[in-house]
Amino acid sequence: MRITQGTFSFLPDLSDTQITAQIEYCLQNQWAVAIEFTDDPHPRNTYWAMWGMPMFDLQDPAGAMQELKACRDTYPEHYIRINAFDAAEGWETVRLSFIVNRPSEEPGFRMVRREGAGRTMHYTLESYAVNRNPEGERYGREQG
């Protein structure tokens, strides 16, 4: 099941040229670009691990693309996303966030039903990949 989170997630995966163009757009708006990765793609998991520091005072997408490449080389089977943070007063938040790398196989989520007091039902999601293996081995082993 293809995970759809963040901007552009219903489109086919962006090519590197398209990612570069998006980063260019972020930089034009003076947003700081950051790269994050995870292998726990639960929709409520907002805290992904940071790949280095957010890139403030960047002028050109080449620098961010270089970091993205390094991140992909290290974590080819992780989800990687690019966040663009707007520091302008009144916004001070992430303005754009999109996935730029995903595992080759995405098993998706199981819906869990739990029966509570008085036969009430509680529903929750559970990732097959997260249940299957500990952190770092969930989507096939990374090399190195």
Partner: protein
């Protein structure tokens, strides 16, 4: 490299180089270079050559004549205050107009910005600077300090290696300009032959003559809305001769500092006179303001920067 390829010219077609030159907007950068930078004839000549090469290269690629993207890394050598940083800014502008760098900003750094203080600190620091410079020009002032032969554990070597790697593999993304004194730069290159071979353009900045320094002083003063009175300019010419022979002479930078001090003395003179001042008084630097400099005193215990 961005070349707008709307219509491909055929083998028999011609392209007007002059029109191309005008379109790229390089002409007015070069013209400003001529007007705003005094002297430096050999440097201007080199800049013109480089600009011509890049322009012709661009036209060649339109005819599908395969060219290696030219190596643009440069080395500026010369004494302090000869305009190296200023030229780096102009060069960035020219490269941007011709489409060889995307953004045309200049990131000026020295050893401290690249080299870390402990093991593992250097690489991220250098990489950070390189990322910031991408799309523009990385200007490394006094680059020879990166290499410290007397200390084999020095982290400078690590920065040099990272730099070399990017200079080789990401030529489209950034242009590196090294700057410094000629002799020390030469020693730096002998111990880092890899660096020398990756730098295509070596530009030498000559010292300014007294006449050129006078012109520079006049230009600076007119930019600040000041001018010498006739006695003042005679005294200043004499000042230059004395200043040149004293230690720590830094060409245009010394001129600038001297003018700053003359402005101070002029302000104090006007203030102490306690008389009403006219517009003209506020603009004029007189002989007395110049002659108050320590370089006109004959004592041997002079402060070098005065």
């Amino acid at each position: 490299m961005t070349v707008e390829q709307t219509v491909k010219p055929g083998a028999g077609d011609t392209i007007d180089l002059a029109a191309e030159y005008r379109e790229a907007g390089v002409a007015d950068v070069l013209e400003r270079l001529d007007n705003e930078l005094i002297g430096l004839q050999p440097v201007k000549q080199r800049v013109r050559e480089i600009a011509a090469l890049l322009l012709v290269d661009r036209v060649r690629s339109r005819f599908d004549l395969a060219t290696e993207p030219p190596s643009l890394h440069m080395c500026f050598t010369g004494n302090p205050g000869t305009g190296k940083t200023t030229l780096a800014m102009r060069m960035a502008e020219i490269l941007k107009r011709l489409g060889y760098v995307r953004k045309g900003h200049v990131v000026a750094v020295t050893r401290d910005d690249l080299v870390g203080q402990y093991i593992g600190h250097t690489a991220p620091k250098t990489r950070e600077v390189l990322k910031r410079a991408m799309g523009g020009v990385l200007f490394i002032d006094e680059a020879y300090y990166l290499y410290r032969p007397e200390n084999e554990k020095d982290y400078g070597q690590e920065a040099i290696e990272l730099l070399l790697q990017v200079m080789e593999n990401q030529r489209d993304d950034l242009v590196v300009v090294l700057a410094g004194y000629a002799d020390r730069m030469e020693r730096f290159f002998t111990s880092n032959p890899g660096m020398k071979s990756r730098i295509a353009h070596h530009v030498e900045f000559p010292d300014y003559s007294d006449g050129e320094l006078t012109q520079i002083a006049d230009l600076m003063l007119s930019q600040w809305n000041y001018h010498f009175d006739p006695g003042g300019s005679r005294a200043f010419a004499e000042y230059l001769q004395r200043r040149r022979t004293s230690p720590h002479f830094a060409n245009a930078r010394s001129v600038r500092n001297a003018l700053d001090r003359m402005r101070l003395r002029q302000a104090l003179r006007l203030f102490d006179a306690a008389a009403p001042v006219a517009r003209e008084d506020l603009q004029t630097i007189t002989e007395a303001d110049v002659r108050a400099s320590r370089h006109f005193r004959d004592s041997s215990e002079q402060d070098p920067e005065n």
